[in-house]
């Protein structure tokens, strides 16, 4: 492989970057704050794929790149790499999330009940064109009279206090108590500082479960959806149902270095999905199998598709596109987008070399007087 040093072009590059900024509009603190406040799901997606919970910086990355998601994720990952690792939080547990949305498509009467939370699932998909005409349009679409907050809290046995204080047990725990799932293996609690970490060690296959789930948590939403959708459409070996989908806030629990007292340094938006498949167990085993994915930020599509891929990857003989190595390598957003866009950079020597080979091959059978166009490998910076 040959590389040729680049020369010249600095002014054109500077002008190109300036033009990008000009066409994207001015960058300001006000814009960044507006993005953080008004586009939380977009900010969440950048944070999830960037693997860094920092809403202000994710909003800045979006503003700075004109909304180019892959560039924004790259900016956030690059910033992340400049920061030292200074703490390990206590593990987040599903039942301790301050849950704002929790539904199951498998069981309607789950302990704690079903809570739609913030969702557009049942909304009419209609553009609110009145906004463009200056009308003040409420966010809610349905013309339904809602109960007052006082009525809600006094009338319902499940108070807001209960929602926020862990009365929403995991559906899987209930299934285990009912004998529908295999009991969890007994083991010591994991050391938060000693977990396998894909940012510090390469993945080898079969990957430790911690590597698989960390990779899915950082994965590209579109990539996970594409492979997950292939499974859903029939290329997969399983036909699961959403066992539990949950959005909530996790406490970032750290320990005081002097006294050892645990405290919360703030709250992180997290989402997780669990899917359940039936009929795949061996004789004598539970017939239900679970798949799981979670990510920082609220991103339902990624967690549902990721949980389905988790199931597929655990199957004995998955479709080639659902093997662990295939899924984890091809859904890494920075590596995949970076590899894709590198193709637009100069490849003059590579292409010129290919042309030379073509010319040589064609020359062997060429009639006299016929020629191929000359390649110009010296034209620029290339490999």
């Amino acid at each position: 492989m040959a590389y040729v040093a680049a020369r010249g072009g600095e002014r054109a590059i500077a002008a190109s970057e300036e033009l990008h900024g000009r066409l994207s509009g001015p960058l300001s603190g006000e814009l960044v704050r507006a993005i953080e406040r008004q586009l939380p799901y977009l900010v969440d997606r950048v944070m999830g794929e960037g693997s860094l919970y920092a809403p202000e910086l994710a909003a800045l990355a979006l503003a700075q790149t004109g909304g180019d998601l892959y560039e924004a994720v790259l900016l956030l990952r690059a910033y992340r790499s400049t920061q030292p690792r200074i703490a390990y939080a206590q593990p987040v547990r599903q039942g301790e999330l301050r849950t704002v949305r929790r539904i199951s498509a498998a069981f309607k009467d789950i302990p704690g009940g079903q809570i739609l939370g913030p969702s557009l699932d049942y909304s009419h998909r209609l553009l609110k064109l009145g906004v463009l005409d200056g009308q003040n349009v409420e966010l809610g679409m349905l013309n339904v009279e809602l109960p007052s907050e006082q009525e809600t809290s006094s009338a319902d046995e499940h108070s807001a206090f209960n929602i926020q204080h862990s009365t929403l047990p995991a559906v899987a725990d209930w299934q285990r108590a009912e004998g529908l799932l295999e009991p969890l293996p007994a083991g010591e609690p994991a050391d938060p500082a000693g977990l396998p970490d894909v940012t510090r060690e390469p993945i080898s296959f079969p990957a430790p479960r911690a590597h698989r789930l960390q990779s899915l948590a950082r994965a590209d939403t579109g990539g996970v959806l594409a492979l997950g959708y292939a499974s859903m459409r029939g290329y997969g070996m399983s036909h699961p149902t959403v066992n539990e989908l949950r959005l909530g806030y996790a406490e970032l629990t750290l320990r005081h270095p002097v006294t050892g007292v645990a405290f919360s340094a703030g709250r992180v938006r997290v989402s997780q999905a669990e899917v359940v498949d039936t009929g795949a167990g061996k004789p004598g085993e539970s017939p239900l199998r679970l798949g799981f994915t979670a990510t920082i930020g609220w991103n339902e599509v990624k967690t549902i598709a990721g949980a389905m891929l988790d199931l597929e990857m655990s199957a004995p003989d998955p479709h080639p596109a659902h093997r662990e190595e295939f899924v984890l390598y091809h859904t890494e957003p920075v590596e995949s987008s970076g590899f894709c866009i590198h193709y637009k950079l100069p490849h003059y020597v590579t292409f010129g070399s290919a042309l030379d080979n073509l010319r040589k091959a064609a020359g062997e059978g060429r009639r006299e007087g016929e020629t191929l166009p000359e390649a110009t490998p010296s034209a620029g910076e290339a490999k």
């Binding site: 030292p84 690792r85 200074i86 390990y88 939080a89 703030g266 997290v270």
Partner: protein, 137 residues
């Protein structure tokens, strides 16, 4: 006041109010030595539900500070990159540990905690309104 409540409350409290409150307290805390004041990453693990194994969900940007003030050690960590806020909370942690202006510190933290609890309660009520009872036919 218990350290968990103080640190957990102030990490989510209004940063402007915390900084303004600490500004008034500084003369009573001197001499002050700042031992650490930096941003960095906190790894956030999660326990999954299939095999009960833990994995890293991602990293969280935090600001942390470690001080000696009012004759005691103080420490704080909060999400984001607000080094001044981390420093201010660490000073309040030191004030609490060293018994400096305890009454004022407690009253301030309790007021902030009440405001946060009201926000939580309001959100909880809004969430509760979305509870759904499903029937099959």
């Amino acid at each position: 006041m218990d350290q968990h409540t103080l640190l957990s409350t102030l990490a989510r409290a209004d940063s402007g109010a915390v900084k303004a409150f600490v500004e008034d307290l500084i003369p009573a805390l001197e001499p002050i030595t700042v031992r650490e004041n930096r941003t960095g990453l906190a790894m956030l693990p999660m326990e999954e539900t299939v095999r009960d194994e833990a994995f890293y969900l991602g990293e969280v940007l935090i600001a942390e500070a470690r001080v000696r003030a009012g004759g005691a050690e103080g420490y704080a960590a909060c999400m984001g990159r607000d080094l001044e806020l981390a420093l201010a909370i660490a000073l309040l942690d030191a004030a609490n540990a060293g018994g400096v202006e305890l009454g004022r510190v407690e009253a301030f933290v309790e007021a902030q905690a009440a405001a946060l609890a009201a926000e939580d309660e309001a959100l909880g009520q809004q969430v509760e309104r979305t509870r759904v009872e499903l029937e099959t036919f």
